[in-house]
């Protein structure tokens, strides 16, 4: 499945969350990630993310799509980082 993950995390925990998410998804913008991920791996990732969060203050939103083809991406201005697998 293809997901877009955005988070809103308190300043003191945000770096930890960034490092955690980078292991699973491609960073594209501040607090935004996207990428292909399996259901099981997403669960694993969110479980661990929940440990980092303070659930009174922080939140994570995951947009899921069955296939990347169902998603149209439009970028205005400067692309911070691409998700291509050719470097």
């Amino acid at each position: 499945m293809y997901v877009i993950l955005v988070y809103d995390i308190g300043k003191r925990r945000v770096t930890k969350m960034l490092k955690h998410c980078r292991k699973y998804l491609n960073w594209i913008q501040n607090s935004v990630f996207e990428g292909e991920i399996s259901k099981a791996r997403l669960t694993e990732m969110l479980d661990q993310a929940y440990e980092i969060m303070d659930d009174e203050e922080d939140s994570i939103i995951v947009f899921k799509s069955k296939n990347k083809e169902w998603l149209e991406k439009e970028i205005l201005g400067f692309e911070r980082q691409s998700t291509s697998n050719m470097l």
Binding site: K19, K23, E36, I37, S38, R41, Q81, N85, L87
Partner: protein
């Protein structure tokens, strides 16, 4: 599904925060913006540019079972960093060796590989034959050669026959491909555009097969058609025979006939023809798309990617070696 990453730019790959960080470096030694690769989603790495890395990184890659394949300036496969085998099986190893040692057991397998390769070549030819390219003569020639497969009882004779089939097949390339001439097959070094693409493609196919064998219990060094040698994974060569027509040749035909790769994408050097970066990327992209393309599998009744098809082939081989089910080479049915 985990992804393959292709590193074309020179740079430094390092372990950072338990994931991978790639920092591109330009010709003046200036570092570019780093890119983090999600380690949980990396299957393997193909390194075409020059790469800086230290042992901490390789330890990390080993733990994550990520293989790294290296290619030299001329895009020859030079070797792989393979993480330690994680599916060890002594029983499998012994069975595989027994099949290699006994000519009676080895020949049927070797014949299967040759037959599988020839059948898939025929599929390609028949496809273009239906599209206003007259290939009847080559098809007849290959079919005649295939009849001889069961007659041979020595590996080197069989390899010779395989060579003849392939030669006939390559002659048809000039008819299939519109704007390029292939002439005869030349390698080490390839002399013209089509030959360069074939060499590059075959090498990509070989590495893809090796990558899949790694995820099974087979030992990649013990092969049946090719002679197992030193310092090479010859079982990958055996498997690649079957998939080269489907993965490599079809990609080449479509890239050239759709003019996605043009003659300006090649550089002629002394005695050889080399792919420019643009063409190399174009080919890798098309090849990658092909690998992730899915087909409806007949006996499994679900859709399966070409990449997975290679693994299924390994499983069939495993079953054959353990005496569970006879090996029938994969044949395209479309």
């Amino acid at each position: 599904m985990k992804k393959t990453y292709y590193l074309f730019n020179p740079g430094r790959l390092s372990r950072k925060d338990n994931t991978l960080k790639f920092t591109p470096v330009d010709e003046d030694g200036k570092e570019g913006q780093p890119r983090y690769l999600p380690v949980e989603n990396v299957n393997d790495l193909y390194v075409f540019g020059s790469l800086d890395a230290n042992s901490a990184l390789y330890n990390f890659l080993g733990k994550q079972s990520i293989a790294v394949h290296f290619f030299d300036y001329y895009e020859h496969y030079t070797g792989s960093f393979m993480p330690k085998d994680y599916l060890l099986a002594g029983k499998m190893q012994i069975a595989q060796t027994q099949y290699y040692l006994s000519a009676k057991k080895r020949m049927p397998l070797a014949r299967s590989f040759v037959r599988g390769a020839a059948l898939n070549m025929l599929k390609n030819l028949q496809y273009y034959n239906r599209r206003e390219k007259d290939l009847n003569q080559t098809i007849g020639q290959i079919e005649a050669l295939m009849l001889q497969i069961p007659e041979y009882n020595k590996i080197d004779q069989l390899m010779g026959l395989e060579g003849n089939i392939r030669q006939a097949y390559y002659q048809a390339f000039d008819t299939i491909i519109n704007d390029f001439e292939m002439g005869t097959r030349t390698k080490q070094p390839p002399q013209n555009e089509v030959n360069t693409l074939i060499s590059f493609g075959n090498m990509m196919c070989y590495t893809a097969c090796l990558g899949q064998i790694y995820h099974t219990q087979l030992n990649p060094t013990i092969s049946f058609l090719h002679e197992p040698g030193y310092r090479r994974y010859s079982l990958a060569l055996d498997l690649a025979e079957i998939f080269k027509p489907l993965l490599v040749d079809r990609t080449i035909f479509s890239l050239l006939n759709k003019r996605q790769v043009k003659s300006s994408d090649f550089r002629h050097e002394l005695n050889r023809c080399v792919l420019k970066d643009s063409a190399r990327k174009e080919f890798v992209k098309a090849f990658e798309e092909k690998l992730s393309d899915t087909i409806q599998h007949r006996s499994l009744g679900r859709s399966v990617s070409y990449k997975h098809l290679i693994k299924l082939e390994c499983y069939k081989l495993t079953k054959h070696l353990l005496g569970a089910e006879g090996y029938v080479p994969f044949k395209a049915w479309w």
